[in-house]
Symmetry: C2
Subunit: 351 residues, 2 copies
DNA sequence: ATGAAAGCGCTAACAG
DNA sequence: CTGTTAGCGCTTTCAT
């Protein structure tokens, strides 16, 4: 019976019409059955499903989306090179599929700009764009938001039509400082993230916390960055520098885990013992930090929470009337938390 | 003039029909102009383009793909968690766009299986599936290949309808051993990759090279893996073990860079000096290896070459008649190369 | 060079 | 419960 259908001979994949013919019903009915919506008897339902299975039928997603009014697709623009983005993408898949939405990815890389990534998403007519740590200007993002709802993750920004969800960066650094002070540290330096997203907030959190602990005189921010190299360079400079006024730091809080790894590595190579001589704290709780032989004390980003919040914002925009007055989007800030591992300890008494 | 068009009032984006109306021509003509194919006078061409620009028109990719006969879309299934996959994705974007093909990504993560990732790709009707280091069985991949052309990267496999492109893993390890022997090393151990893709070939390459150099008695493969943790564990075991018959190794070749980092870190923490006391070589030339403070000697994977070859295979399948007799696909093996950095040196004479 | 008409595979109104 | 009809936005004959 199946051998008579033309798609068996060619390379063509079975369509809804093929299933309808084979099952002896109309296309509309097959559509109803496939989508699992009410409107078909149990008998037909079973038969159609059986035929569809036998034929290996799978609905054509493009046709489906083209026809559908509302667009249940979340476009995610992320930087392929950033481990943190990869983690977020994983969490976004989970969060989106939990509420029955599809995710389509668009990567930025060397040679493929953020602009390009977003354009691709727009051309696929996804219903909302979720941009991870976008580098575009506020004006550009607002321009984008005029065409499609935009949600940004990990970028502090107030812009018309753009929702933002991010980690409470300042609070994270405050927790780190609190932890170290609790252990008895005073000479705590912050290797910062320069102009990286969130770096300003983290610097502020560090300064505030130090001040609150009466350690204003020990405040010491050294220029770092968001890579291991940055952390290594900053630490090398610190070791070379005598800093008579501040003395040798007994603890270092890095901008992120990558930076902290550079710090760690440089300390180790110079013969310092961590945490006996120097304590080190990172930020992100990336896979790197969790590795047994690194076992870095760090401030964990609420990745799953960020993803869920972003998806929530997206749904909000998608299910709400788009002709509503465009206004500055919501700004959701989620708290990070401290994870104590083995790179922090009380300062050595004799130091 | 534009204010009269309904899409200005609503959130709807302009369609080809809108452009046609505004320009006073037929939709077919606009289509011709937009695609840049011959069949329109210069005058209309200019006018249509002007109108399209003013309206901010962008063709709907879904509709376009739906209508088009041939499918110029490459579906890429990759593991979001693997840095090597991210690098490949970047290269694939470049390679595909160079020949005018689109790439659609589908990630596998914790909670999103490879199977799922591929199904999504199929539902979007991409013309070919490029699977990075797939874990599916040969039977499963052949089943997939019956529905759509399949190209695998970084997986040794001979299967009907499946093209494979991969690095010459054995040759890579041979180069590593040659380099070390050239420096004067004899006690060279290989921290292997266990069951990871390519691990068997690399082990073989190591054994062959050692044998060829008359170092059969020094052959020493210790169980590792593809993570930093694996490398660290293997090295810790090695340091604890006295290995009276083989003596202390003066050089270690790891399965990959991540593993090598674990090796490096453990050596450092145990007070060993690299490369003065022990030389270390990785595999991949990942971003990690290139970091200035790591500066790992490694075997570079030909990432761009792999990506280009994969895209070539895909084009081949796409432009060739699909009814051709299904046969075992091509198997392309690309040579890696040695990159000497600062973790290798001649063995210390007194050792 | 231009336009009319058909249809890709699907869903959504509306009839029966 | 089931089928018919009418598109989604685009490309593609085929006329003109």
């Amino acid at each position: 019976v199946l051998a008579t259908l033309n798609f068996v001979t060619g390379a063509r994949r079975p369509t809804l019409a093929d299933v309808a013919t084979a099952a002896g019903v109309s296309r509309a009915l097959v559509s109803i059955v496939i989508r699992g919506v009410p409107g078909a008897s149990e008998a037909t339902r079973a038969r159609v499903i059986a035929v569809a299975d036998e034929l290996g039928y799978r609905p054509d997603q493009r046709a489906r989306l083209l026809r559908q009014r509302e667009n249940r697709v979340l476009g995610v623009a992320f930087d392929v090179r950033r481990a943190f983005h990869s983690d977020l993408v994983g969490a976004l898949y989970t969060a989106a599929e939990a509420v029955g939405y599809d995710v389509v990815l668009s990567g930025v890389t060397t040679g493929r700009s953020e602009q390009r990534a977003v354009t691709t998403l727009l051309d696929e007519r996804c219903g909302v764009v979720i941009a991870l740590g976008p580098t575009a200007s506020r004006a550009e993002l607002e321009g984008l938001a005029r065409r499609v709802p935009v949600v940004t993750i990990a970028r502090r920004l107030r812009a018309v039509g753009v929702d933002t969800v991010r980690t409470a960066d300042a609070a994270g650094l405050r927790d780190a400082v609190d932890h170290l002070v609790g252990l008895g540290h005073q000479r705590i330096v912050h290797v910062d993230g320069g102009k990286a997203p969130g770096a300003a907030d983290r610097r502020r959190g560090y300064r505030d916390a130090m001040t609150r602990h009466g350690l204003r005189d020990f405040i010491d921010v050294v220029g770092g960055g968001d890579t291991e190299e940055d952390g290594a360079r900053a630490t090398a400079g610190l070791l070379a520098d005598l800093r008579p006024s501040l003395g040798r730091p007994t603890a270092m809080v890095a901008f992120n885990d990558a930076c902290a790894l550079g710090v760690l590595d440089t300390l180790l190579r110079s013969g310092r013992n961590v945490p006996a001589q120097v304590s080190v704290i990172g930020f992100d709780d990336s896979r790197l930090a969790r590795l047994a032989h690194i076992d870095l004390t760090t401030i964990a980003q609420p990745i799953d929470g960020l993803a869920r919040a972003a998806v929530d914002c997206a749904l909000q925009r998608l299910t709400t009337d788009p002709v509503a007055a465009p206004t500055v989007g919501s700004d959701i800030e989620l708290p990070p938390w401290l994870i104590v591992r083995s790179t922090t300890a009380a300062p050595s008494t004799g130091a």
